[in-house]
Symmetry: C2
Subunit: 464 residues, 2 copies
Amino acid sequence: MPTTRRIVDLLRHGQPDESVTIKGWVRTKREQKEFSFVEVNDGSSLAGLQVVVNQEVPGYAETIKRINTGASVEISGTLVESPAKGQRVELKAASIAVYGEADPETYPLQKKRHSFEFLRDIGHLRSRTNTLSAVFRVRNAASTAIHQFFQERGFLWVHTPIISASDCEGAGEMFTVTGFDLKKVPLTAEQGVDFSKDFFGKHAYLTVSGQLEAEIMAMAFSNVYTFGPTFRAENSNTSRHLAEFWMVEPEMAFCDLEGDMDLAEAFLKYIFKYVLETCPEDMEFFNQRIDNSVLATADNIINNEFARVTYTEAIALLEKASKTFEYPVEWGLDLQSEHERYLAEEHFKKPTIVTDYPAKIKAFYMRLNDDENTVRAMDILAPKIGEIIGGSQREERLDVLERRIQAQGLDLAEYWWYLDLRRYGTVPHAGFGLGFERLVQFLTGMSNIRDVIPFPRAPLDVEF
Amino acid sequence: MPTTRRIVDLLRHGQPDESVTIKGWVRTKREQKEFSFVEVNDGSSLAGLQVVVNQEVPGYAETIKRINTGASVEISGTLVESPAKGQRVELKAASIAVYGEADPETYPLQKKRHSFEFLRDIGHLRSRTNTLSAVFRVRNAASTAIHQFFQERGFLWVHTPIISASDCEGAGEMFTVTGFDLKKVPLTAEQGVDFSKDFFGKHAYLTVSGQLEAEIMAMAFSNVYTFGPTFRAENSNTSRHLAEFWMVEPEMAFCDLEGDMDLAEAFLKYIFKYVLETCPEDMEFFNQRIDNSVLATADNIINNEFARVTYTEAIALLEKASKTFEYPVEWGLDLQSEHERYLAEEHFKKPTIVTDYPAKIKAFYMRLNDDENTVRAMDILAPKIGEIIGGSQREERLDVLERRIQAQGLDLAEYWWYLDLRRYGTVPHAGFGLGFERLVQFLTGMSNIRDVIPFPRAPLDVEF
């Protein structure tokens, strides 16, 4: 029996006269009198392999009846040059085995186009469609690019905890993780929940960020990154929010905000390049079918130096803009989506890094500038997407950090270990966070974030 | 200013007369009258770089007082050939900047040896020790090997959900994830918890396995793998259990148990080889200081074909053994740790794959053999470690699967989407699960599982 080959390999490297076996699922079938065309897909590429099945195939009539869209098959035969446009080879079948049928009366994925909303209801089948399968191949390629980028530079992948007793930012709704039977939650004498009786002995949450733990690891290994799931219990049922999403968070010791921005820019360029090189057909598909600016955006990211501007300069630019904004532009207020888009899309027309935000609107761990009013934060704003990366140089001075924690009404005692990092061998350090699903949206042009993660988690949404 | 170099690069490739800058933390200092030796480590390797600091360095007397164990420094100078054994070069310092001191009166990591138990209490500092830093470099290398192994073979990394409403195995204690304020959990008229009012609208848990979702993805992409956190709420305070741990779960369409075992064996060999090649100093260290069988074990894994034996044959071997076991040996009972160790350590003296276990003691999704008594399961038993991988060919026949689900008292309706995978284009498929921390223990010889994950989670243990 000839070896089983992946369809992507046959489409790219297959030679006429090669004997091959493929295994996959039928996407389409066109029956003609003397023979039929069957397109088979095994998930390795967007395009399937066209198979010509004629009456010499044993059991032709019965087999062709069974192989409807969705059926699983093993087909052996010989590659021949394809007369059709857009494919080098097709497969002349010599034998077909059917593993499993798919009843055309009930199988939900018939040839017609389905809305993404409908496909979310059949999350167990939607990866078998062109668009979703292209998304998840791009997602895999981007993941691989991320690991490669950091490993090539000597960064260690560190697994920061999912279950956590600390709240990284002193903000953000968090899910509770508990071993309690919720029917009988033990209470204290004061009628509070007695978490000392819970599995972990204290109130435990799902993490909102691995940053603080990544800082621990950076103080031992210099350069590290996390790449894992994080959570928000915010009840926002939008196309931009998930309750469970993946984040990438590098952290570098002996690094300032300049180094942080340089790394972030190199990082984004690397991912876009890698995905274009490894998934050219999928990216072409997104450009044709989903958003016709996808390839131009990739080109823009790869070939332009990102603009860099301080928050104070950005406010001045917005004030001078001949555009009316819905939200007020005023030093001290956070930038709104419309402001971010104006800067990246209309003013600079490329990714734009805004730095040195007012201390009051940013987290306690960001390094205070000498003006005592701004912090060494940076946000990367992407055209169409808005904020894609947020980072900062961290406050490495023990006394300043203590002051900032207290100023935000947080309890110093809770941060004992974080403060120890400044007590013993503190160094300037910096890092950033990338929302991985936002990145996949950015790459593919997909408009709903629930369509770029295999099994989205959102309010009232936990099926599959 | 000369470029900053990683210490691992200098130790491996540094040449005498090169001007370099290093940044890192002081591990030891030996003061002499005219000059001092300082060992600096930046986490890139087990060994630090020896630095010779003499009185020509500006501010010598004051600086040398400040750079105690744990202090962070930047040192520029010239590499010179080292007269000391075991290192090619050392650094003759020209200038030293101290970023942060570490008070020798309070810094917990002084030169003496600390117990692993003590180090767990200072989880924010323990990665700065030789053993833990070596563990986490090996952990990173093993992670990289895992991604490389699968990506080279065309497997897609799929992110299966952490928050889940289904229980993969119909067994195992699970953590509840909730948005409820636990002081006021809403109840139904029947005094049950009203989960319809919770964030997800139903009782949500932390996943125990990504397998079922990985099967979904394998039915679209043929070959996929997960690599992410999984959870158990078992109250076992042992050196072998964690509440949160990382799992690797490949799933292959068009694959039977033979293919599954072949992949698992190639996978383990690949990881061991990769780690030996990329972390030779760390592995040598484990062999010398932690467990003197570490290198022999790696050699055993890499160079031996794994033994393969059916459960029924294994029972016969155990019955014939001239050894008294604590637990009974009887067809139908699960193998205990002592039995597994006898097989792998004493009988076969190498990793041993046991297949075709009694259906009654295995999960519903494993493929039933024609004898109707056993299933196509396989466990890989490693000398000293016991079970390191568990896998199976999955039941792809709809009718048999339905029967098995019901036989285990589970609700068919809950498995509607899992059953759909057999309804539409079902194929033979197989996969396995590897407990990643067990693997890191296996690689390093570390005896407590809490010392191979950066921030262990266990009963009453959720600090950092």
